[in-house]
Symmetry: C2
Subunit: 330 residues, 2 copies
């Protein structure tokens, strides 16, 4: 059986109140008594039961993080940063993966709430007024990352649209006139939250229109994007830029093009988004957009904890710096 406060109390011949005073550095205890208690604590190898403490305190010193999955390098890096920062502040971390399934996500959030986490870091698939009401009802501090929900929710991320716009502008300046854009299926638009993806697409279109590129880009929103690519003929005299909404797609495309013997960037240009860390092992160097994932994690945690401890968010929603990484692929 585990040693409890009561055991310590009995062992020392004091009350449990006194033991608590010793354990938690509360005033109103004689130094000598305190020492006696603390010795007993060590001797009996007492360890507090956080479950019981949480019940009375109403706080668990636990955060929850809700992510899609950990296949994307960026997510893993983010999680790493979040864990670090959370425990630095004495908080433990629950992790819940939704696999982009809206119902699953709801269940995750519900479970986290039932486990009485003090706050949640949310990369949501869901969106919409109904969902916001749903979140509201938990009355738990929540900070959103990557996917913006609405002005009502604290958010840490980058200006996705502007970032993509900058990237595409760079490509246009290089003289490209034909564009292919590859992104995940956006068919859940309006239902599922694909804010990030929508914004990146908008960024592309904005840049094209502003710069007077009249030919509409070919937009491949398809999981079989490589198959779709097969239909495309590439020509040196009319160079095409393939823009991918994330590096993972760009890598797949790069592999595909290499296989086909299509030269990058001589015959076709390629751009990604994320600057995942493995890019440094690849040639040609992929042109991409970099943003500070770790910092997003740090800031999310710190902001959330401030909210938990002060009752309000001190930082409002934040847009962090992104950076165009000019490689050799375009």
């Amino acid at each position: 059986m585990r040693v409890t406060v009561k055991d310590i109390a009995k062992y020392c011949g004091v009350s449990s109140g006194t033991v608590d005073r010793a354990l938690n550095n509360r005033p109103g205890i004689k130094l000598k008594t305190k020492q006696k208690v603390l010795e007993a604590v060590k001797k009996l190898n007492y360890r507090p039961d956080f479950t019981a403490r949480s019940l009375v305190k109403g706080r668990t010193m636990t955060l929850g993080i809700v992510l899609f999955d950990l296949y994307n390098r960026s997510f893993a890096q983010l999680l790493n940063a979040v864990e670090l920062k959370a425990r630095e502040h004495g908080y433990f971390l629950y992790i819940a993966l939704t696999d982009k399934d809206p119902e699953n996500e709801k269940q995750c959030i519900e479970y986290l709430a039932n486990h009485k986490v003090d706050g949640i870091i949310l990369f949501s698939v869901n969106q919409g007024i109904e969902f916001e009401q749903y979140l509201q009802d938990f009355s738990i501090p929540i900070i959103t990352i990557f996917n913006f929900i609405s002005e009502n929710w604290e958010y840490v991320g980058i200006q996705e649209r502007a970032a993509m716009r900058d990237g595409v502008n760079h490509i246009i300046e290089k003289g490209y006139k034909n564009f292919i854009y590859i992104c995940p299926p956006l068919k859940h638009m309006g239902k599922a939250n694909i804010y990030t993806q929508e914004e990146r697409l908008k960024g592309l279109l904005e840049a094209l229109h502003t710069k007077g590129i009249n030919d509409e880009p070919l937009i491949i929103k398809h999981n079989d994007y490589l198959k779709e690519l097969q239909k495309v003929k590439f020509a040196k005299d009319n160079k095409t830029a393939i823009v991918c909404s994330c590096d993972l797609y760009a890598l797949e495309v790069m592999n595909y093009l290499k296989q086909k013997g299509v030269k990058i960037p001589e015959e076709v240009g390629l751009m990604g988004f994320d600057n995942i860390d493995v890019l440094k092992y690849l040639t040609p160097k992929l042109t991409t957009i970099e943003y500070p994932v770790e910092e997003i994690g740090f800031i999310a945690v710190e902001s959330l904890i401030k909210k938990i401890e002060n009752g309000y968010f001190t930082d409002t929603s934040l847009s962090l710096e992104y950076k165009l990484i000019v490689g050799e692929s375009i």
Copy 2:
């Protein structure tokens, strides 16, 4: 305020015992009463407080996983698998990262224990009798992965030594006689648990000795291994094989060699270990060892849960299949 069992009881004009029977499908309740209660539950948006339940049940339906970090792709993949499987069984997951710091690891385990997790999946840095006693004292089901602690602890992983031996044998058969081995600093040997790394090294040495390679390999146990490599002269007529204890090192080495203009495998051979998923984007294809990370995660969770629920481990320690992936780098 959150709705409690009492609130429901009052609202329905029944006792909290009855509410509990309705909520948890316990017998001894009239169907009609049950329906009435469940309706109220819905109407008042009641959600159970797991903290309170845990206190009385003595179980939290929570597992903890202790890892080094998430920078290695394999760890992220493992974690992903573990989360999936855990929640499939109704368990939530705490994640704690040690950054390979033995003291930090102890703190993690202690916190997990205090949070009353039902079981722990442990990739430990610590080892030794003292540590085992320390673990023992928590009397929490623990399953170890990657790093073996001792026969006293359930373990899921592969036969690291045999795997490396197979890899090196393959290299020897290709005619290589000079070997360089790159691995992390093993200076904590005896103190920190570097089982995996030790085993891989042993595998290398066993293969060399068995096959009668008399020249001792150059073993670089150094974080600055690229610097060390600079001192080495490569010669076509006396070809060297560089064996890395993990793919991450191999990628760094590959980059370095490319920079130096050293041809792989024409001038030097290279082998990794792990088969991380980004290898498929690289040329030349890296020869490496593959093992089923996800499966390790699944099995660890299932085995642990069985232990939790039955009181004993049904599977004893497991060695899963590994596979030599023959690439073009050696």
